[in-house]
Symmetry: C2
Subunit: 336 residues, 2 copies
């Protein structure tokens, strides 16, 4: 188990040329059975482990991927990472994991190091907002979750609009009119589409938008917590809240608990994306569930597929939208 043994040592020991050893190991060219066995025996004896880097210099392929997420401690991203890493492993790729803290400059430093390292491709949940940034990508990239229109890249996203629309419609069907939304910044499609879905559902049912009921903050728990408290302090508080991501939903659940308000009784709640608390509290909180792991696997598969296409047949960008599922539990009160 040492790595200071090179292909030359194997060649010498086996009385063949390095080319032959290489051929045996990569199995591309024909080698006689006799020499194959002889070489493999020596490889085993010496515990020879090929140096991937040296090979990469020739082949121009590193068999390395990168997956870039805003925050490695958010379970949603971890799930995407796991999906990507697993598929990559299956296909013989190793994966770098980067966490950008949703900062453009940290993402920039990542891109430089991924360039230096010649990663073959990137699964990216990007921090950059400008399509121009994405246009000048010189490597295969699959965007996940966030998609920048006009960037020219492939992407795997989910049906944010549909999920939010269904969630809101569900509240309306249960008789709610005063429906609040707590959501993140309107920077990316995740924010905008969920907000649109909410808006559209209200419009389609003839419910007027109330600006006090719309809380646009960040995507973190504290936004959910504070916004919920503010909402419930209003002269006429909403009867239902749509929490537009996992952390916000957790914040809302905590705030309602601290306000001594019972979910599904005093206030109705629907979340977006699964989370520990939503599953724990009684009644369990209804959520729009999205296929997080599958987003990761799908992206990895698309990426590796793309790598195989020798020709860069500049096809049109492919955007895959995965469906979501509204899971109904007891957190929504029927107002009749």
């Amino acid at each position: 188990m040492t790595c200071d043994i090179t292909i030359k040592d194997v060649a010498k020991q086996a009385n063949v040329s390095v080319a032959t050893v290489s051929r045996v190991l990569n199995g591309l060219d024909r080698v006689s059975d006799q020499t194959r066995k002889k070489v493999l025996k020596v490889v085993k004896e010496l515990n020879y482990v090929p140096n991937t880097m040296a090979a990469s210099m020739i082949t121009k392929q590193t068999q390395m991927l990168a997956v870039v997420v805003p925050e490695i401690e958010n379970p949603f991203y971890t799930s995407v990472i796991k999906g990507t890493v697993n598929v990559a492993k299956e296909r013989g790729y190793n994966t770098f994991v980067f966490s950008t803290n949703d900062s453009e400059s940290e993402e920039d430093t990542f891109f430089e190091s991924s360039l230096r390292r010649n990663v073959d491709g990137i699964v990216l949940i990007g921090a950059h907002k400008d399509p121009v940034f994405y246009q000048k990508m010189n490597k295969p990239v699959i965007l996940v979750d966030r998609y920048i229109d006009g960037c020219g890249l492939d992407g795997v996203i989910i049906d944010n609009f549909g999920g939010a629309y269904e969630a809101t419609k569900y509240l309306i069907e249960y008789g709610h009119r005063d429906i609040a939304i707590i959501t993140g910044p309107q920077t990316f499609n995740d924010g905008t589409e969920r907000y649109w879905g909410y808006q559209q559902a209200l419009k389609d049912n003839g419910i007027e938008l109330v600006s006090d009921y719309q809380k646009h903050g960040d995507w973190f728990e504290n936004n959910g917590y504070q916004s919920t408290k503010e909402l419930m302090k209003l002269p006429k508080p909403p009867t239902a809240i749509f929490a537009a991501n996992n952390l916000i939903c957790q914040g809302t659940i905590k705030a309602l608990r601290d306000l001594d308000l019972t979910i599904g009784l005093d206030v109705s709640l629907v979340g977006f994306d699964a989370n520990d608390l939503a599953e724990f509290v009684k009644p369990r909180v209804s959520v729009v569930k999205r296929p997080t792991y599958e987003m990761g696997t799908h992206a990895a598969e698309m990426l590796i597929e793309k790598l195989k296409q020798v020709e860069k047949n500049e096809s049109f960008p492919k955007k895959v939208t995965l469906g979501v599922e509204l899971q109904k539990f007891g957190s929504v009160k029927y107002l009749g």
Copy 2:
């Protein structure tokens, strides 16, 4: 932002030799200010990005680390990963993240690929049990959380014994005698030391061990859930439970909720390691908190420090034990 520009292109464009360009970029040898500026200008103009791999072939350093964990979706491990990755990034290293599913064979395949890729060092939460496996490591390795005695490697662990002892003592001081433990396998020090701590605290206080009160399963939530239900079904159920990791604790909380038992009233509970549910429920669950992020940073720092020591001055293995903190909340009833 292309990577097909090599040091030769820069050299040609700047009318210097490749050696000079290399010297400018690495800043080791002396270069006149004039040529330095000239070269840097061309570097910028051409958007030259050095190829790390080619450099690695010479320097024998890849500036790549690996961090290996059993399960990337467990928040404890994610926190360790984050610590390691952040320190690595600061020091100019990129980090591979591997998840082994706690399987020895998956760990083996990882080791081979890390060998092929010539990672400089490894932060490892290992799946292997046999010290012999660790003894034949040919790369700098820092073990985290789990430490195999006699493996000859450096490690960063926490005070499992002390934490478990304190937790149990705390329960005893509050008047409890019938104290159960739900813990994982006794394969590694994490399991054994926590169990010993529990045992010792009982012994030191003259409390006899009851085998029915000791649940040894795996480290997952379902073990906590099922074991709790079994415990509470006993003719004489325990008055207090020590849940020996984060997931088990979550399982216990859920089981008690489903059994309609109130924490801190019907049953007392202390957990090991923070978790969402312990922080959420009222009363909040007391836990032994461990410095997860710091375990990652500390390990990375030790590793990088080790890499700097040119001489492999085969010193004795260094085992660092980080302290834990018992955080007391309302989950333990005072029995007087």
